[in-house]
């Protein structure tokens, strides 16, 4: 059983084709890192998986449940909004710019979706939230507002907030790109820990060290296409695609 299956995913913004026949299958517990130059469509692809972008064509299947089968942007799969939400909630998302809710404390940020979306009672949601906040190492910060936290701390809260919905897949959209260099490590450590616990993860990243160390497979995207997929060893030490080689030369 695959966790995520994307088949021939296409996406146009007007005349601009940002995704061209992207195919990717992710197995349970797998960590897949997507690398590539900016403008390659990495983020757009990730955002298409959880409907932050509407794809123009192709199929997306989450845990064997069809979510999209689009022709000219029209979805052939008819789901009620509850069925769709249930599938989408299998995925948690972490954004480049954290997107914490600034008017809510750390604890409230982590609790809000379980309480209002899953309708879990407040006491239970609080218990889950406190545990998660502890897990990302911010137990002493639960009652402060996000503006009082460093970028790295904010991103760890954002990870806890996504985990509070108990997703089976975590999508990371350049989670460390907005961070000061000295704060990158603490976020990557939380992600590494998550990977070790068996979470299925797709990570769009520029952190080649992380991709090499943690990823089971690395996807290199170029110009809206998957140019090459392989183990970190294959991609980093013996890339087959000329574009991959050029890209790695420029970043490593």
């Amino acid at each position: 059983m695959s966790m995520i299956k994307a088949e021939n995913v296409c996406k146009n913004f007007g005349d601009l084709e940002v995704l061209k026949d992207v195919n990717l299958t992710v197995e349970p517990g797998e960590v897949v890192c997507i690398i590539g130059p900016s403008g390659a469509g990495k983020s757009t692809f990730l955002r298409s998986l959880n409907h932050l972008e509407k794809i123009t064509g192709g199929k997306i299947t989450i845990e064997e449940k069809p979510l999209d089968d689009r022709i000219n942007g029209v979805n052939q799969i008819k789901l009620s909004s509850k069925e769709r939400t249930d599938i989408l909630l299998k995925m948690g998302m972490v954004f480049q710019r954290f997107n914490l809710f600034p008017h809510k404390t750390v604890l409230e940020n982590v609790m809000i979706a379980p309480v209002h979306v899953k309708k879990i009672d407040t006491d239970k949601a609080k218990k889950i939230a406190v545990d998660l906040i502890k897990r990302v190492g911010l137990a002493d910060k639960q009652d402060v507002y996000p503006s009082k936290l460093s970028g790295g701390q904010q991103q760890r809260v954002a990870i806890a907030r996504a985990l509070a919905m108990q997703p089976e897949i975590m999508l990371f959209d350049e989670p460390t790109s907005a961070l000061d260099p000295e704060l990158v490590g603490e976020v990557l450590n939380v992600m590494k820990q998550l990977a070790e616990e068996g979470m299925t993860m797709i990570v769009v990243t520029h952190e080649m060290g992380f991709a090499r160390e943690v990823a089971d497979r690395v996807v290199f995207m170029y110009d809206g296409r998957v140019a090459e997929i392989g183990t970190p060893a294959e991609i980093f030490t013996n890339p087959k695609n000329e574009r991959t080689r050029q890209f790695l030369q420029s970043v490593l």
Binding site: T85, F95, R97, F101, H116, M165
Partner: protein
């Protein structure tokens, strides 16, 4: 000295009419805020019809003189259909000011909502919230703080605009001032009257500044 005494003597009569000015301002802006929230949500909704309807409403109330709107509601509506007759001048003024204020505040609210970072809506959606839920829990609460200064401004505008109701013979502060002027034949009555307007404005300014501080805790 005598002039000062004379001016002080008018104050009780002026203050009596201040109640009308103040209560009309408060109820109108509050109703205006409710109207404007719906107008703003309509304007940013995906429905073209709603967008157009709300746009037309705003265009109408911002594009015609407020004084004419008051006259229209009080004098013209009953002629169109007798069921629209509004006996109370206060209620007629209240309706006109609320509708007018709603149009001005709608643009303010729309701008405040749209000034919230797009990432907030995306994060809400990624957590499974629907549009309405995200608006109610995440977007609108954050826009409130940004709304406080312009809404305070709207209050101050409306306080002074209420002087227009003297033209439908509602005894507000302005009307009472004119009455005193005719009966005492002294234009000096404008001085205490202006002082009262200034005092109300100062009070509103103070309240809104405190509100702004209170809502800034998280920034």
């Amino acid at each position: 000295m005598d002039t000062l005494k004379e001016m002080a003597g008018w104050i009780p009569a002026l203050l009596q009419s201040t109640g009308i000015t103040l209560s009309l301002t408060i109820v109108s802006v509050i109703c205006g805020l409710i109207i404007s929230l719906f107008l703003a949500l309509g304007k940013i909704s995906k429905s073209k019809i709603l967008q157009k309807l709300c746009g037309a409403y705003i265009f109408f109330f911002r594009g015609t003189p407020l004084l004419m709107q008051i006259f229209f509601i009080y004098y013209a509506l009953p002629l169109i259909y007798s069921g629209f007759t509004i006996k109370s001048r206060f209620i007629a003024a209240w309706i006109a000011f609320s509708l007018n204020s709603g149009a001005y505040l709608a643009e303010i609210i729309r701008a405040a909502i749209q000034s919230i970072d797009k990432g907030q809506m995306e994060a809400s959606k990624a957590l499974g919230m629907g549009y309405g839920q995200a608006m109610r829990l995440i977007i609108i609460p954050q826009s409130i703080r940004r709304l406080i200064p312009p809404v305070g401004n709207e209050f101050i505008m409306v306080i002074k605009d209420t002087s227009l109701v003297s033209s439908i013979a509602l005894i507000d502060l302005m009307k009472r001032t004119s009455q005193i002027m005719s009966s005492s034949a002294s234009a000096l009555v404008y001085i205490p009257a202006m002082c009262i307007y200034l005092a109300i404005t100062a009070a509103f300014t103070y309240v809104f500044n405190s509100l702004e501080k209170k809502f800034s805790v998280y920034e």
